[in-house]
Subunit: 209 residues, 2 copies
Protein backbone atom coordinates (compact mmCIF):
# COMPACT_ATOMS: atom_id res chain seq x y z
CA UNK A 1 0.00 0.00 0.00
CA UNK A 2 1.22 3.50 -0.75
CA UNK A 3 0.77 6.62 1.38
CA UNK A 4 2.01 9.84 -0.13
CA UNK A 5 0.44 13.19 -0.85
CA UNK A 6 2.02 13.59 -4.29
CA UNK A 7 0.10 11.92 -7.08
CA UNK A 8 3.10 11.74 -9.34
CA UNK A 9 5.18 10.01 -6.75
CA UNK A 10 2.39 7.54 -5.98
CA UNK A 11 1.96 6.70 -9.63
CA UNK A 12 5.68 6.28 -10.11
CA UNK A 13 5.90 4.01 -7.14
CA UNK A 14 2.86 2.02 -8.22
CA UNK A 15 4.32 1.38 -11.64
CA UNK A 16 7.79 0.45 -10.46
CA UNK A 17 6.62 -1.70 -7.61
CA UNK A 18 4.18 -3.48 -9.90
CA UNK A 19 7.07 -4.09 -12.28
CA UNK A 20 9.02 -5.53 -9.38
CA UNK A 21 6.24 -8.03 -8.82
CA UNK A 22 4.35 -6.37 -5.99
CA UNK A 23 0.62 -5.75 -5.87
CA UNK A 24 -0.43 -2.27 -4.82
CA UNK A 25 -3.69 -2.81 -2.97
CA UNK A 26 -4.37 0.83 -2.17
CA UNK A 27 -3.14 4.41 -2.08
CA UNK A 28 -3.60 7.00 0.62
CA UNK A 29 -3.16 10.75 0.19
CA UNK A 30 -2.69 11.63 3.86
CA UNK A 31 -2.12 10.09 7.26
CA UNK A 32 -5.78 9.77 8.13
CA UNK A 33 -6.55 7.96 4.94
CA UNK A 34 -3.50 5.75 5.45
CA UNK A 35 -4.82 4.65 8.84
CA UNK A 36 -8.31 3.95 7.46
CA UNK A 37 -7.04 2.10 4.40
CA UNK A 38 -4.52 0.05 6.38
CA UNK A 39 -7.35 -1.21 8.55
CA UNK A 40 -9.55 -1.92 5.56
CA UNK A 41 -7.02 -3.44 3.20
CA UNK A 42 -4.58 -5.12 5.61
CA UNK A 43 -1.56 -4.69 3.34
CA UNK A 44 1.62 -6.59 4.05
CA UNK A 45 3.78 -3.51 3.65
CA UNK A 46 3.09 0.21 3.53
CA UNK A 47 5.39 2.68 1.82
CA UNK A 48 4.67 5.83 3.79
CA UNK A 49 5.84 9.37 3.20
CA UNK A 50 6.92 11.21 6.32
CA UNK A 51 5.43 14.57 5.45
CA UNK A 52 1.72 14.36 4.74
CA UNK A 53 -1.24 16.63 5.44
CA UNK A 54 -3.58 16.05 8.38
CA UNK A 55 -1.58 13.34 10.13
CA UNK A 56 2.10 12.90 9.36
CA UNK A 57 3.63 9.59 8.46
CA UNK A 58 5.23 9.00 11.84
CA UNK A 59 1.97 9.41 13.73
CA UNK A 60 0.11 7.31 11.19
CA UNK A 61 2.75 4.64 11.59
CA UNK A 62 2.37 4.68 15.35
CA UNK A 63 -1.39 4.27 15.16
CA UNK A 64 -1.32 1.56 12.54
CA UNK A 65 1.33 -0.39 14.42
CA UNK A 66 -0.75 -0.26 17.61
CA UNK A 67 -3.70 -1.89 15.91
CA UNK A 68 -1.85 -4.02 13.37
CA UNK A 69 1.72 -4.76 14.43
CA UNK A 70 2.01 -7.25 11.58
CA UNK A 71 1.94 -4.56 8.93
CA UNK A 72 5.48 -3.56 8.01
CA UNK A 73 5.95 0.12 7.28
CA UNK A 74 8.77 1.66 5.29
CA UNK A 75 9.11 5.40 5.70
CA UNK A 76 10.15 7.51 2.75
CA UNK A 77 11.55 10.95 3.21
CA UNK A 78 13.14 13.71 1.22
CA UNK A 79 15.89 14.46 3.68
CA UNK A 80 18.05 12.49 6.07
CA UNK A 81 16.90 13.67 9.47
CA UNK A 82 18.08 11.81 12.55
CA UNK A 83 15.30 13.17 14.74
CA UNK A 84 12.58 12.02 12.43
CA UNK A 85 14.34 8.73 11.85
CA UNK A 86 14.45 8.02 15.57
CA UNK A 87 10.80 9.02 15.95
CA UNK A 88 9.82 6.86 12.98
CA UNK A 89 11.52 3.74 14.22
CA UNK A 90 10.21 4.34 17.70
CA UNK A 91 6.77 4.59 16.13
CA UNK A 92 7.33 1.15 14.70
CA UNK A 93 8.61 1.73 11.19
CA UNK A 94 10.69 -1.13 9.81
CA UNK A 95 12.58 0.91 7.29
CA UNK A 96 13.55 4.42 6.47
CA UNK A 97 14.67 5.40 2.98
CA UNK A 98 15.53 8.68 1.37
CA UNK A 99 13.50 9.28 -1.73
CA UNK A 100 16.39 9.44 -4.17
CA UNK A 101 16.99 5.73 -3.90
CA UNK A 102 16.33 3.48 -6.87
CA UNK A 103 13.24 1.37 -7.35
CA UNK A 104 15.50 -1.65 -6.99
CA UNK A 105 16.53 -0.41 -3.59
CA UNK A 106 12.94 0.10 -2.55
CA UNK A 107 12.03 -3.37 -3.78
CA UNK A 108 14.92 -4.86 -1.85
CA UNK A 109 13.87 -2.91 1.20
CA UNK A 110 10.34 -4.27 0.96
CA UNK A 111 11.61 -7.81 0.70
CA UNK A 112 13.83 -7.12 3.69
CA UNK A 113 11.17 -5.70 5.96
CA UNK A 114 8.67 -8.46 5.29
CA UNK A 115 11.34 -10.76 6.72
CA UNK A 116 11.26 -8.72 9.91
CA UNK A 117 14.49 -6.86 9.37
CA UNK A 118 15.13 -3.17 9.33
CA UNK A 119 16.44 -1.17 6.41
CA UNK A 120 18.09 2.21 6.58
CA UNK A 121 19.47 4.30 3.80
CA UNK A 122 23.22 4.61 4.17
CA UNK A 123 23.02 8.37 4.69
CA UNK A 124 20.61 7.75 7.52
CA UNK A 125 22.64 5.01 9.08
CA UNK A 126 25.49 7.47 9.04
CA UNK A 127 23.47 10.26 10.57
CA UNK A 128 22.14 7.87 13.18
CA UNK A 129 25.68 7.01 14.07
CA UNK A 130 26.55 10.64 14.29
CA UNK A 131 23.76 11.09 16.75
CA UNK A 132 24.99 8.19 18.82
CA UNK A 133 28.52 9.46 18.64
CA UNK A 134 27.81 13.01 19.62
CA UNK A 135 26.69 12.65 23.15
CA UNK A 136 28.31 15.99 23.42
CA UNK A 137 27.93 19.14 21.38
CA UNK A 138 24.14 18.86 21.12
CA UNK A 139 23.70 22.57 20.55
CA UNK A 140 25.42 24.17 17.60
CA UNK A 141 25.70 27.24 19.82
CA UNK A 142 23.23 29.69 18.40
CA UNK A 143 25.49 32.44 19.69
CA UNK A 144 28.70 32.38 21.68
CA UNK A 145 27.64 33.44 25.16
CA UNK A 146 30.85 32.41 26.82
CA UNK A 147 34.13 33.91 25.73
CA UNK A 148 37.12 31.76 24.90
CA UNK A 149 38.89 32.65 28.10
CA UNK A 150 35.82 31.99 30.19
CA UNK A 151 35.45 28.65 28.51
CA UNK A 152 39.02 27.76 29.39
CA UNK A 153 38.36 28.63 33.00
CA UNK A 154 35.16 26.58 33.01
CA UNK A 155 36.84 23.58 31.47
CA UNK A 156 39.67 23.66 33.99
CA UNK A 157 37.19 23.91 36.85
CA UNK A 158 35.28 20.99 35.39
CA UNK A 159 38.53 19.08 35.21
CA UNK A 160 38.98 19.51 38.93
CA UNK A 161 41.00 22.66 39.33
CA UNK A 162 40.39 25.13 42.15
CA UNK A 163 40.63 28.86 41.64
CA UNK A 164 44.34 29.04 42.58
CA UNK A 165 45.10 26.12 40.28
CA UNK A 166 43.26 27.66 37.38
CA UNK A 167 45.17 30.88 37.95
CA UNK A 168 48.43 28.98 37.94
CA UNK A 169 47.67 27.07 34.75
CA UNK A 170 46.49 30.09 32.84
CA UNK A 171 49.29 32.29 34.19
CA UNK A 172 46.88 34.86 35.53
CA UNK A 173 46.00 36.00 39.02
CA UNK A 174 43.34 34.39 41.17
CA UNK A 175 41.47 37.65 40.94
CA UNK A 176 41.13 37.39 37.21
CA UNK A 177 39.89 33.86 37.51
CA UNK A 178 37.25 35.09 39.93
CA UNK A 179 36.30 37.85 37.56
CA UNK A 180 35.83 35.38 34.75
CA UNK A 181 33.80 33.19 37.04
CA UNK A 182 31.60 36.09 38.09
CA UNK A 183 30.97 36.85 34.45
CA UNK A 184 30.19 33.21 33.79
CA UNK A 185 27.74 33.08 36.68
CA UNK A 186 25.84 35.98 35.21
CA UNK A 187 25.71 34.56 31.73
CA UNK A 188 24.75 31.05 32.78
CA UNK A 189 22.46 32.17 35.59
CA UNK A 190 24.49 30.15 38.03
CA UNK A 191 25.36 31.15 41.53
CA UNK A 192 28.36 28.95 42.12
CA UNK A 193 30.91 26.96 40.14
CA UNK A 194 29.01 23.75 40.55
CA UNK A 195 25.92 25.15 38.89
CA UNK A 196 27.97 26.92 36.27
CA UNK A 197 29.75 23.74 35.27
CA UNK A 198 26.52 21.74 35.20
CA UNK A 199 24.82 24.37 33.09
CA UNK A 200 27.81 24.46 30.76
CA UNK A 201 27.66 20.69 30.39
CA UNK A 202 23.94 20.86 29.63
CA UNK A 203 24.59 23.53 27.03
CA UNK A 204 27.44 21.57 25.51
CA UNK A 205 29.94 24.32 26.20
CA UNK A 206 32.26 21.97 28.01
CA UNK A 207 32.64 18.23 27.96
CA UNK A 208 33.03 15.61 30.62
CA UNK A 209 36.32 13.86 30.06
Amino acid sequence: MLADDHRMLREGLRRSMTDQGFDIVGEARDGDEAIRLAEELQPEVILMDVTMPEVDGVEATRQIKISYPGIAIVMLTMHADQEVLAAAIRAGASGYLVKDCSTDEIATAIRTVVRGETVLSPQLAASMLEEVRKLEEPSPDEERVITKREEEVLQLIANGCSTPEVAERLFISQKTVKNHLASIYQKLEARDRTQAVLQAVRMGIIHLE
Copy 2:
Protein backbone atom coordinates in the same frame (compact mmCIF):
# COMPACT_ATOMS: atom_id res chain seq x y z
CA MET B 1 33.50 -14.11 1.08
CA LEU B 2 33.15 -15.56 4.54
CA ALA B 3 35.14 -14.65 7.64
CA ASP B 4 34.43 -16.69 10.72
CA ASP B 5 36.55 -18.77 13.05
CA HIS B 6 34.07 -21.64 13.31
CA ARG B 7 34.36 -24.19 10.52
CA MET B 8 30.86 -25.47 11.04
CA LEU B 9 29.41 -22.02 10.74
CA ARG B 10 31.46 -21.29 7.64
CA GLU B 11 30.36 -24.51 5.98
CA GLY B 12 26.74 -23.89 6.88
CA LEU B 13 26.94 -20.41 5.45
CA ARG B 14 28.72 -21.57 2.34
CA ARG B 15 26.04 -24.15 1.60
CA SER B 16 23.08 -21.90 2.26
CA MET B 17 24.53 -18.94 0.43
CA THR B 18 25.40 -21.13 -2.52
CA ASP B 19 21.82 -22.39 -2.51
CA GLN B 20 20.68 -18.79 -2.55
CA GLY B 21 22.64 -18.26 -5.73
CA PHE B 22 25.78 -16.62 -4.36
CA ASP B 23 29.33 -17.67 -5.09
CA ILE B 24 31.62 -18.01 -2.11
CA VAL B 25 35.00 -16.96 -3.42
CA GLY B 26 36.91 -17.50 -0.20
CA GLU B 27 36.84 -18.19 3.52
CA ALA B 28 38.91 -16.58 6.25
CA ARG B 29 39.43 -17.98 9.73
CA ASP B 30 40.53 -14.76 11.44
CA GLY B 31 40.72 -11.05 10.91
CA ASP B 32 44.22 -11.08 9.45
CA GLU B 33 43.32 -13.67 6.89
CA ALA B 34 40.14 -11.74 6.09
CA ILE B 35 42.16 -8.64 5.29
CA ARG B 36 44.62 -10.58 3.11
CA LEU B 37 41.92 -12.51 1.28
CA ALA B 38 39.76 -9.45 0.73
CA GLU B 39 42.68 -7.81 -1.03
CA GLU B 40 43.44 -10.90 -3.07
CA LEU B 41 39.91 -11.96 -4.01
CA GLN B 42 38.10 -8.62 -4.16
CA PRO B 43 34.74 -10.06 -3.12
CA GLU B 44 31.59 -8.01 -3.57
CA VAL B 45 30.38 -8.76 -0.06
CA ILE B 46 32.00 -10.15 3.06
CA LEU B 47 30.06 -11.89 5.81
CA MET B 48 32.26 -11.19 8.80
CA ASP B 49 32.01 -12.49 12.32
CA VAL B 50 32.63 -9.92 15.02
CA THR B 51 34.62 -12.11 17.36
CA MET B 52 37.64 -13.64 15.70
CA PRO B 53 41.18 -14.43 16.79
CA GLU B 54 44.12 -12.14 16.00
CA VAL B 55 42.16 -9.21 14.62
CA ASP B 56 38.48 -8.86 15.40
CA GLY B 57 35.84 -8.29 12.78
CA VAL B 58 35.40 -4.62 13.48
CA GLU B 59 39.07 -3.83 13.05
CA ALA B 60 39.30 -6.01 9.95
CA THR B 61 36.31 -4.17 8.56
CA ARG B 62 37.94 -0.82 9.19
CA GLN B 63 41.13 -1.83 7.43
CA ILE B 64 39.40 -3.42 4.48
CA LYS B 65 37.13 -0.42 4.02
CA ILE B 66 40.09 1.94 4.03
CA SER B 67 41.70 0.11 1.12
CA TYR B 68 38.58 -1.10 -0.65
CA PRO B 69 35.53 1.02 0.17
CA GLY B 70 33.60 -0.79 -2.53
CA ILE B 71 33.54 -4.07 -0.64
CA ALA B 72 30.32 -4.31 1.37
CA ILE B 73 30.71 -5.95 4.74
CA VAL B 74 27.92 -7.52 6.77
CA MET B 75 28.80 -8.15 10.38
CA LEU B 76 27.46 -11.24 12.10
CA THR B 77 27.32 -11.47 15.85
CA MET B 78 25.99 -13.72 18.55
CA HIS B 79 24.54 -10.99 20.69
CA ALA B 80 22.87 -7.65 20.14
CA ASP B 81 25.38 -5.18 21.47
CA GLN B 82 24.88 -1.49 20.82
CA GLU B 83 28.48 -0.59 21.49
CA VAL B 84 29.83 -3.07 19.00
CA LEU B 85 27.13 -2.16 16.53
CA ALA B 86 28.14 1.47 16.66
CA ALA B 87 31.80 0.59 16.34
CA ALA B 88 31.07 -1.74 13.42
CA ILE B 89 29.10 0.76 11.43
CA ARG B 90 31.63 3.46 12.20
CA ALA B 91 34.24 1.05 10.86
CA GLY B 92 32.29 0.92 7.63
CA ALA B 93 30.09 -2.16 7.94
CA SER B 94 26.97 -2.03 5.80
CA GLY B 95 24.97 -4.46 7.86
CA TYR B 96 24.81 -6.01 11.26
CA LEU B 97 22.89 -9.23 11.84
CA VAL B 98 22.49 -11.47 14.85
CA LYS B 99 23.41 -15.02 14.05
CA ASP B 100 20.03 -16.55 14.77
CA CYS B 101 18.53 -15.05 11.65
CA SER B 102 17.47 -17.29 8.78
CA THR B 103 19.50 -17.88 5.64
CA ASP B 104 16.74 -16.06 3.78
CA GLU B 105 17.35 -13.04 5.94
CA ILE B 106 21.07 -13.17 5.33
CA ALA B 107 20.48 -13.50 1.59
CA THR B 108 18.15 -10.54 1.64
CA ALA B 109 20.68 -8.60 3.65
CA ILE B 110 23.38 -9.31 1.09
CA ARG B 111 21.16 -8.17 -1.74
CA THR B 112 20.38 -5.06 0.25
CA VAL B 113 23.95 -4.08 1.07
CA VAL B 114 25.21 -4.53 -2.48
CA ARG B 115 22.68 -1.85 -3.37
CA GLY B 116 24.39 0.47 -0.92
CA GLU B 117 21.82 0.26 1.83
CA THR B 118 22.25 -0.72 5.42
CA VAL B 119 20.62 -3.66 7.14
CA LEU B 120 20.14 -4.07 10.85
CA SER B 121 18.52 -6.88 12.70
CA PRO B 122 15.37 -5.63 14.39
CA GLN B 123 16.78 -6.34 17.84
CA LEU B 124 19.75 -4.18 16.98
CA ALA B 125 17.70 -1.40 15.51
CA ALA B 126 15.76 -1.45 18.75
CA SER B 127 18.83 -1.42 20.94
CA MET B 128 20.32 1.35 18.83
CA LEU B 129 17.21 3.36 19.43
CA GLU B 130 17.44 2.66 23.11
CA GLU B 131 20.93 4.03 23.11
CA VAL B 132 19.82 7.15 21.37
CA ARG B 133 16.88 7.52 23.69
CA LYS B 134 18.72 7.01 26.94
CA LEU B 135 20.92 10.01 27.23
CA GLU B 136 20.63 9.33 30.89
CA GLU B 137 21.17 6.19 32.95
CA PRO B 138 24.24 5.03 31.02
CA SER B 139 25.57 2.81 33.77
CA PRO B 140 23.44 0.06 35.26
CA ASP B 141 25.21 0.74 38.55
CA GLU B 142 27.42 -2.26 39.06
CA GLU B 143 27.20 -1.74 42.81
CA ARG B 144 25.66 0.92 44.96
CA VAL B 145 28.62 2.97 46.13
CA ILE B 146 26.56 5.90 47.26
CA THR B 147 23.93 5.48 49.96
CA LYS B 148 20.38 6.67 49.49
CA ARG B 149 20.89 9.62 51.77
CA GLU B 150 24.11 10.62 50.10
CA GLU B 151 22.39 10.42 46.77
CA GLU B 152 19.67 12.77 48.00
CA VAL B 153 22.31 15.24 49.09
CA LEU B 154 24.12 14.97 45.77
CA GLN B 155 20.96 15.45 43.77
CA LEU B 156 19.99 18.53 45.76
CA ILE B 157 23.46 19.99 45.29
CA ALA B 158 23.23 19.28 41.59
CA ASN B 159 19.87 21.01 41.56
CA GLY B 160 21.51 24.15 42.87
CA CYS B 161 21.20 23.92 46.64
CA SER B 162 23.97 25.11 48.95
CA THR B 163 24.84 23.25 52.11
CA PRO B 164 22.42 25.25 54.30
CA GLU B 165 19.66 24.72 51.76
CA VAL B 166 20.23 21.00 51.57
CA ALA B 167 20.12 20.85 55.36
CA GLU B 168 16.86 22.74 55.39
CA ARG B 169 15.22 20.55 52.78
CA LEU B 170 16.29 17.31 54.36
CA PHE B 171 15.50 18.52 57.89
CA ILE B 172 19.01 17.80 59.10
CA SER B 173 21.83 20.01 60.31
CA GLN B 174 24.40 21.56 58.05
CA LYS B 175 26.95 19.42 59.82
CA THR B 176 25.28 16.23 58.72
CA VAL B 177 25.17 17.48 55.17
CA LYS B 178 28.89 18.14 55.37
CA ASN B 179 29.46 14.66 56.76
CA HIS B 180 27.57 13.13 53.86
CA LEU B 181 29.54 15.24 51.45
CA ALA B 182 32.83 14.18 53.02
CA SER B 183 31.80 10.56 52.63
CA ILE B 184 30.79 11.22 49.04
CA TYR B 185 34.12 12.86 48.27
CA GLN B 186 35.94 9.78 49.47
CA LYS B 187 33.79 7.38 47.51
CA LEU B 188 33.84 9.36 44.29
CA GLU B 189 37.44 10.49 44.67
CA ALA B 190 36.33 14.07 44.47
CA ARG B 191 37.72 16.93 46.47
CA ASP B 192 34.86 19.37 46.20
CA ARG B 193 31.17 19.40 45.40
CA THR B 194 31.73 20.37 41.81
CA GLN B 195 33.86 17.31 41.14
CA ALA B 196 31.53 15.10 43.14
CA VAL B 197 28.51 16.18 41.14
CA LEU B 198 30.33 15.79 37.83
CA GLN B 199 31.56 12.35 38.76
CA ALA B 200 28.06 11.37 39.86
CA VAL B 201 26.70 12.55 36.54
CA ARG B 202 29.32 10.55 34.67
CA MET B 203 28.47 7.49 36.70
CA GLY B 204 24.77 7.97 36.15
CA ILE B 205 24.07 8.32 39.85
CA ILE B 206 22.30 11.60 39.38
CA HIS B 207 20.70 13.22 36.39
CA LEU B 208 20.77 16.68 34.90
CA GLU B 209 17.25 18.01 34.93
